[in-house]
């Protein structure tokens, strides 16, 4: 499927960061982009909307990216959703935890559209 037909959910508590990720996704021709401000909000969205890709920050109030990932992987209807974790260089070590929780892949910020595309190629069947 072409990127433009996929629905992406961006999860980040920082508005500016969501906008940056949105912009980069747009550069990659994604058209349907939804935002959520933390894991809880993301789960709300996921209840009602079919999402083809989740791009989530790790560090968020209320529900972290890892907790969200576990919720997603634990839900029958969501467990196969590609999940890309956004992390910072300093927190990269923690990624092993996310990998154990079946994250599809991760990306270290700041990243470029090219890096993102590379990562997406690994996790979205085209």
């Amino acid at each position: 499927m072409a990127y433009k037909d996929l629905t992406v959910l961006i999860v980040d508590d920082f508005v500016t960061m969501r906008r940056i990720v949105r912009k980069i996704l747009r550069d990659l021709d994604f058209q349907n982009i939804i935002e959520a401000e933390d894991g809880m909000a993301a789960l709300e969205v996921l209840k009602t909307t079919k999402v083809d890709l989740i791009v989530s920050d790790w560090n968020m109030p209320r529900m972290t990216g890892l907790e969200l990932l576990k919720e997603v992987r634990g839900a029958d209807n969501l467990k196969d959703t590609p999940f890309l974790m956004v992390t910072a260089e300093a927190q990269k070590e923690n990624i092993v935890e996310a990998v154990k929780a079946k994250v599809s892949n991760y990306i270290v910020k700041p990243f470029t559209a090219a890096t993102l595309e590379e990562k997406l190629a690994k996790i979205i069947p085209r």
Partner: protein, 723 residues
């Protein structure tokens, strides 16, 4: 175990890129290890696989393909461990030697990993990372980032101050850590290297605090607060478009040096107190205070959360723990929100005001009123309800809790008391009281002035307080409360109180009053609001109050509010501020003067009354006076100022409005009171802005316009003309 091994070898992983597969595999390894905890050789093998996996995951492998081969071999060799116990030893050795030729060199490999781990733990990669993304040059984005970052910085401040009282509160550390982390993240994208680096260092510092490696001491808090200030400065520079070079480099560099030399002392973190959940559970009567350390110890040993440990020990039920957790989370949780341009909001509120007026114009139209249709009447009251609700909601959209403003004061008190060698704390009450966001900015300055005064002049030095039998730690209580259409803010200190005698002396010395003037103490206190009363240094010498208090008064009055002082010598002083909830609407008394109606803000009114003929008299040189009970006050004929032909010229026929300005009361003469109503204030436009005696206009229920009387302005017109 056989089964587990089968699952492993049967290939859960597609290749070195398949993170999900690797994850699955790691989980299986955990399981395997859990079952064969004591088998040393097996454990060693598993550890080896883990190391390589980690290397692959973190993309730190120098040769992924070789690593992939090694993994396959190692997993295959695990199959050889078929029985428990030490018998495995030889099989393990065999397996290891079996792969040795293929892997480059085992010891070298481990060294490589060790150093890689250290690198990624401590090193910063800003240069390389930042240069990677450059195409994000969006001014709009930058602007919003500045805005958002500032907002987050203010939460950092308040959480930091919370940490000061409760240094072990990991959730609070997290709440401070998170914004730095987010700011750093965005700064990386936007190429703001200084902000990036600074927040990165602070993040590191907080990370060690979070993991318990560093105790949150006063100096850590100071450091973070300084960082917050520098960041704010950097953001402001960015905002003003000065490309961030002026303050930036030297300050940031100096600060970074400081952070880096701030070594984490591992021993210092040992005394982190029990999590708040425990405290909450004690408060709920679920746990005993004495049991907390045991549970904490258990949760530490087993790596579980405190609540989980308490449940496992059978000391609390899951329901009780979740209740405590909810309570703990309660303060952090924020409602979901949308950002809206405030101009849009203001317009909305304006238009809703118009809607309410338009509705009453329609409903009060005589022709409509004549219609005696029940359905219409029902529909009208329905419409009324809906518009009232819309008005309420739209007003509430502009309301924000006063909390943020109050919380900034904590920092102020802290800084001021530190500087002056005093001990003072700020307590607050009613910080959830909501206030028009336009007002928030306006009351900030006056609050700062008053608190500064309380700390500088009210609170005594610790020794002095101890001598007076008080707690050496002074307390300033700041509280807010909604009363009717007003918000009442009190600032109360338990310091030495005002000295009426000294104030009087001072006022005489400054020529504000003459020695013959007789005041009670309360009136004397009000003298400190007099513009000529004091300058900062002079007041400090006589240890009075008065730093810019005239400014405070002016501000409060500009907001159509009132301020009062109550003071008890030796016990403290309190400022009592009464402000309208919003600047867009006032509670007004509508009075008739001649053919027109005018609005007098109720906040300015003390009372309204009718007097007998005997109460009115004239005195040579003083003009017309009215005696209300025991006090005599000048009479101001409002119709003279608005050029109206009044219904009643005789004061005992008309209505008198008693107002207070400064130390004096005045009587305003109007014809009659028409009613009391909340009105939406409309500016009269720049042409009439400076019109003395008028502060604005409003549209009344029947669609006619009424002018809002500026009481203070009228009085000064009166005073000028009678001189």
């Amino acid at each position: 175990m056989e089964k587990i091994l089968d699952r492993l070898v049967n290939g859960v992983i597609d290749g070195p890129d398949d993170l999900a597969g690797i994850g699955e595999c790691l989980n299986i390894l955990d399981e395997l290890e859990g079952q064969n905890g004591s088998a040393g050789a097996l454990r060693k093998e598993i550890e080896k696989v883990r190391l390589i996996f980690k290397r692959l995951i973190l993309e730190e492998s120098s040769d992924p393909n070789n690593d992939w081969l090694m993994i396959q071999n190692l997993l295959g060799s695990l199959k050889n461990f078929s029985g428990p116990g030490e018998a495995l030893g030889s099989a393990a050795a065999e397996a290891v030697s079996g792969i040795e030729p293929e892997s480059a060199c085992e010891t070298g490999e481990e060294d490589f990993f060790a150093s890689a781990a250290i690198d990624s733990g401590n090193d910063i990669f800003p240069d390389q990372e930042v240069t990677e993304s450059t195409e994000l040059q969006d001014p709009e984005l930058l602007k919003d980032f500045i805005e958002e970052a500032k907002e987050h910085l203010s939460t950092i401040e308040m959480n930091m101050l919370g940490l000061e009282t409760n240094p072990g509160d990991t959730e609070a550390i997290n709440a401070v850590f998170r914004p730095f982390h987010s700011i750093k993240g965005v700064a990386g994208f936007l190429n703001l290297s200084e902000i990036h680096e600074l927040s990165h260092e602070v993040e590191n510092l907080l990370d060690s605090a979070r993991s318990g490696k560093l105790a949150v001491t006063d100096s850590v808090i100071d450091l973070v607060l300084v960082a917050t200030d520098i960041l704010k400065g950097l953001l402001e520079e960015l905002e003003s478009g000065q490309s961030g070079r002026k303050v930036a480099s030297p300050v940031v560099k100096g600060f970074l040096e400081k952070v880096k030399t701030f070594g984490g002392d591992p021993a210092a973190g040992a005394g982190i107190p029990v999590r708040k959940v425990g405290t909450i559970l004690v408060e709920h009567g679920v746990l005993e205070d004495e049991t907390l350390p045991d549970i904490a110890q258990k949760s530490k040993v087993e790596g579980t959360k405190f609540g989980e440990a308490a449940i496992e020990e059978g000391m609390a039920s899951p329901r009780e723990v979740s209740k405590a957790l909810r309570e703990q989370r309660h303060n952090i949780e924020t409602a979901q929100s949308v950002r809206i341009d405030t101009r849009k909001l203001d317009n909305l509120v304006d238009m809703v005001g118009e809607l309410v007026i338009a509705q009453s114009m329609v409903l009060q139209n005589p022709d409509i009123k004549k219609i005696k249709d029940q359905k219409l009447q029902k529909d009208c009251s329905q419409l009324n309800r809906i518009t009232a609700e819309i008005q309420r909601i739209s007003m509430s959209m502009r309301m924000v809790p006063i909390k943020n403003t109050f919380q900034k004061m904590i920092r102020l008190v802290r800084d001021l008391s530190r500087k002056s060698g005093k001990e003072a704390q700020l307590k607050m009450n009613g910080e959830d009281t909501e206030i028009d966001r336009n007002m928030v900015e306006e009351i900030y300055e006056p609050l700062v002035h008053m608190i500064r005064n309380s700390v500088d002049h009210g609170i005594e030095m610790p020794e002095e307080r101890t001598k007076a039998g008080k707690d050496p730690m002074g307390t300033i209580l700041i509280s807010a409360e909604q009363k009717g259409g007003n918000i009442v803010i009190d600032i109360e200190d338990d310091g030495r109180g005002l000295d009426a005698r000294k104030i009087r002396e001072k006022a005489i010395e400054r020529g504000i009053i003459s020695e013959l003037d007789q005041f009670d103490d309360k009136t004397a206190y009000d003298l400190i609001f007099h513009p000529g009363f004091s300058t900062k240094d002079k007041v400090t010498e006589v240890s009075g109050r008065g730093v810019g208090m005239d400014v405070v008064k002016k501000c409060v009055e500009g907001l159509r509010g009132k301020i009062e002082i109550v003071s008890r010598p030796g016990r403290g002083t309190s400022f009592h501020m009464k402000l309208p909830l919003t600047m867009a609407i006032i509670d007004g008394m509508i009075v008739q003067i001649g053919a027109e109606r005018y609005i007098v803000p109720t906040i300015a009114l003390k009372e309204s009354l009718k007097v007998s003929r005997e109460a009115y008299f004239t005195v040579q040189g003083k003009g017309e006076l009215v005696k209300v009970r025991d006090s005599i006050m000048p009479l101001i004929r409002l119709h003279n100022y608005f050029n109206e032909e009044p219904k009643h010229r005789a004061p005992w026929e008309g209505l008198l409005l008693v107002v207070i300005e400064g130390q004096h009361s005045y009587c305003l003469l109007a014809d009659e009171i028409v009613g009391r109503q909340e009105v939406v204030i409309k500016s009269l436009g720049s042409l009439f802005e400076q019109l003395p005696g008028i502060s604005g206009g409003a549209i009344l229920g029947d669609g006619k316009i009424a002018l809002i009387i500026d009481v203070k302005g009228i009085i000064s017109l009166y005073e000028d003309s009678s001189k």
